[in-house]
C-alpha cells in the first residue's frame, strides 16, 4: 500500500505538483491522466523516490520511502521511463537481465535469473529478439524489451510512464492486459497514460491532474465525464458507451 500525504513538489519557484493526497491499495491498476505538463510524470517520479517532495510525505508499505536502501527499494518498485536510449551493443536479453541488478551483489546472474528474464521476454512476445542487439530494434520492439526488463525486476509496484507509446493497437492491449494480470497477482500498477479510452478500458481508478493539482479521482466512470474533460483539456468532448460498457471518449472540437 502506498500513501501520499499533502505531497507538493517545487522546482525553480514553480509548483509542479501540489497537495496530492492519495491512498493506493494493492492489486489495483491506477491511471494518471491529464494534459501535457499536468504533473503526471513528476508525480510518478515522486512516488518512485527519485524526486523528494518539497512538502508532504510518501510511505511505502507503512514505512517512509526514504528509509529504504536503494537496492531494497528497487526490489519493491520498478519504473518505466518514456524515453530510453542505449549506446552500447547490449543484446535484448542483457538489457532485460539488468532488471535483476537489485537481486545481485555484483555477482553473475544465476540460471534462475536468466529463466526469469526469458519468461519476461515471452510475456511481451519478444522472445524472437532475445539475442538481437537492443540498438537495432524498432521503437516499439525496444519498448517491449523495456517492459520485459521491469517485469524481470519483479517488484510489488510498477510505475509506468506512457507504456503504450510507440506501440500498435495489439501491443498496446497486450501491455495493458499484462498490467491487469500483474494486478490480479495482488501487485499494483500506476501508469501515466494519454489515451483516455485505454485508461477507461483498463484502469480500476483514475487520477486526473491539471497544473499539478488533482481535479478528479475515482472510477473511470466518475472521472471521465463530459464536464470534467472539457474543463481539464479546454476542448469539448462527447462520451458514448463502449459496446463493453466503458465510457468512450470522443473529442469533438476540430478548430479552437
Amino acid at each position: 500500500m502506498i500513501e501520499l500525504e499533502d505531497v507538493s513538489y517545487q522546482i525553480n519557484g514553480k509548483w509542479l505538483v501540489q497537495d496530492i493526497n492519495l491512498t493506493i491499495k494493492n492489486g489495483l491498476l491506477w491511471g494518471f491522466v491529464g494534459p501535457n505538463g499536468a504533473g503526471k510524470s513528476t508525480l510518478l517520479r515522486l512516488i518512485s523516490g527519485e524526486l523528494i517532495p518539497t512538502t508532504g510525505e510518501i510511505s511505502f508499505f507503512g514505512k517512509p520511502i526514504n528509509s529504504y536502501e536503494p537496492k531494497e527499494l528497487a526490489r519493491l518498485r520498478a519504473y518505466l521511463q518514456q524515453k530510453r536510449d542505449i549506446n552500447f551493443p547490449f543484446t535484448a536479453l542483457e538489457v532485460v537481465l539488468f532488471g535483476r541488478y537489485p537481486y545481485l551483489n555484483g555477482t553473475k546472474e544465476t540460471t534462475s535469473d536468466i529463466a526469469i528474464a526469458k519468461k519476461a521476454l515471452r510475456n511481451v512476445e519478444a522472445d524472437a529478439f532475445t539475442y538481437r542487439l537492443y540498438q537495432t530494434l524498432s521503437g516499439g520492439e525496444a519498448s517491449r524489451i523495456d517492459v520485459a526488463r521491469i517485469l524481470a525486476q519483479s517488484p510489488g509496484l510498477f510505475l509506468l510512464d506512457e507504456p503504450t507509446n510507440h506501440l500498435d493497437p495489439r501491443h498496446q492491449l497486450q501491455i495493458l492486459n499484462l498490467c491487469k494480470n500483474i494486478c490480479d497477482e495482488g501487485k499494483t500498477v500506476i501508469t501515466a497514460i494519454h489515451d483516455l479510452n485505454l485508461a477507461s478500458m483498463y484502469a480500476d481508478q483514475l487520477l486526473m491532474l491539471k497544473d499539478g493539482v488533482s481535479v478528479a479521482c475515482g472510477s473511470p466512470k466518475s472521472v471521465l465525464t463530459q464536464k470534467m474533460l472539457t474543463e481539464t483539456y479546454n476542448i469539448s468532448f462527447n462520451i458514448i458507451p463502449h459496446p463493453n460498457g466503458y465510457p468512450w471518449v470522443m473529442p469533438c472540437t476540430k478548430n479552437f
Binding site: 517520479r45 528497487a74 526490489r75 521511463q81 530510453r84 542505449i86 549506446n87 552500447f88 541488478y101
Partner: protein, 321 residues
C-alpha cells in the same frame, strides 16, 4: 587473453637492441647469465610500466564511456590527459622535485586531471544527460588551453627544469626505472581496484541515470568513485609516460566487438588488452628504427587515429543526431 599478457611481456622483454630469446629469460634470471642486467634494469621496468600505463588508460577509457554513456569518450579526447599533463608540468616548473619526492608528479597530475574531469562533465551535462557534441568540443577547448599553459610553462622554466619538462613531455617509456614503477604500481592497483568494482553499476547506468537509480544503483557514489578512479589512473599514467592517446578509445571498442558490451567483461578485459597493446606499441616504437626510438605516442596515434575515424563513420548516424 590473460595468457597473452605474460607472453607479450616476455617477448617484449627479450626483443631490442640487445636480443634475448624469450624462452631463455627464466634461465638468464635464475643463473644471472649474460643479459641479466639488461633484462632486470632496462627491459623489465620498461615493460612493466608499459603494461601498467596501458591497463590504466584502457580501463579509464572504458569507465568514461560507461558513465558518459558515450562510445566516443576517451581521456585524451576530452582533455583529461592534457589536464593531467598540465598538472605535471606545473609541478615540474613551479614546485620542483624536492617536495614529496617521486610522488609529487603523479599527485599534481591526479589533482589537475580530476579538476578537468569534473569540469568537462559539468560543462557538457544538462539535466542528467551528457551531450556528445558539447563533450567533444569542451575536450578540444580544454586540450588547447592546457597545451597553451604547458607552452607557457616551458617559457617560464629555467634550463634544468626545461630539460626535465621536455624529457617528460616527449613521453614514452625510455626513462622507465624501477623507482618510477614503484610509484606507479600502488596507484595503479588502487585505481584499477576502484574502477573494477563499478562494472555492474556501469551496466545499469548504460540505460540512463534515472533508470540506474530505479534499479537500485547509488548513482552519485558511482559517479564520484568513477571520476576519482579515472583521475587517479590517468594522472599516474601521464606522470609516468606523458600523454599517450587512443589506448582508452581503441581497447574497449575492440573488446565490445569481440565479446559484447557487458562491463563485467569489458572492464577487466580492457585492463588486460590495454596492457598488451601498449607493451606491443612500445616494442614497435623502440625496435622499428633501431638504434633510435619513435615516441610511443606516435605509434598509438598511428593505430588510434584511423580507428577513431572508422568509429566516427560507423557511429555518426547514431551519435550525432
Amino acid at each position: 587473453m590473460s595468457g597473452l599478457l605474460p607472453i607479450s611481456i616476455c617477448v617484449a622483454a627479450g626483443v631490442g637492441a640487445y636480443q634475448i630469446l624469450p624462452w631463455k629469460i627464466p634461465r638468464i634470471l635464475f643463473l644471472q647469465e649474460d643479459g641479466f642486467a639488461v633484462l632486470l634494469y632496462v627491459r623489465f621496468p620498461r615493460v612493466v610500466l608499459a603494461a601498467l600505463v596501458g591497463a590504466m588508460l584502457a580501463i579509464s577509457g572504458t569507465t568514461l564511456q560507461g558513465i558518459f554513456r558515450n562510445p566516443l569518450a576517451d581521456p585524451g579526447l576530452i582533455g583529461i590527459t592534457a589536464g593531467a599533463g598540465l598538472g605535471a608540468s606545473l609541478w615540474i616548473v613551479l614546485v620542483g622535485g624536492g617536495v614529496l619526492g617521486m610522488w609529487g608528479l603523479p599527485i599534481a597530475a591526479f589533482a589537475c586531471g580530476m579538476l578537468v574531469t569534473i569540469g568537462v562533465w559539468k560543462i557538457s551535462e544538462t539535466r542528467g544527460k551528457v551531450h556528445t557534441v558539447t563533450l567533444l568540443l569542451a575536450g578540444i577547448a580544454l586540450n588547447s588551453l592546457a597545451g597553451a599553459c604547458i607552452g607557457l610553462m616551458t617559457f617560464l622554466a629555467d634550463d634544468e627544469q626545461l630539460r626535465s619538462l621536455t624529457f617528460w613531455l616527449l613521453g614514452g617509456f625510455g626513462g622507465a626505472t624501477w623507482s618510477v614503477v614503484l610509484v606507479t604500481f600502488p596507484i595503479a592497483i588502487v585505481g584499477l581496484f576502484v574502477l573494477l568494482q563499478q562494472a555492474s553499476a556501469l551496466n545499469a547506468i548504460s540505460l540512463g541515470e534515472s533508470e540506474a537509480y530505479h534499479l537500485g544503483v547509488p548513482t552519485e557514489s558511482l559517479k564520484r568513485l568513477s571520476v576519482f578512479g579515472v583521475a587517479l589512473t590517468v594522472g599516474a599514467a601521464v606522470s609516468a609516460a606523458g600523454g599517450i592517446g587512443f589506448i582508452g578509445l581503441v581497447v574497449p571498442h575492440l573488446l565490445r566487438l569481440m565479446g559484447g558490451a557487458d562491463h563485467r567483461y569489458v572492464l577487466p578485459g580492457s585492463a588486460l588488452g590495454g596492457a598488451i597493446l601498449l607493451i606491443l606499441a612500445d616494442l614497435f616504437s623502440r625496435t622499428v628504427v633501431i638504434p633510435a626510438e619513435l615516441p610511443v605516442g606516435v605509434v598509438t596515434a598511428l593505430i588510434g587515429g584511423p580507428f577513431f575515424l572508422w568509429l566516427l563513420i560507423k557511429f555518426k548516424s547514431e551519435v550525432f543526431l
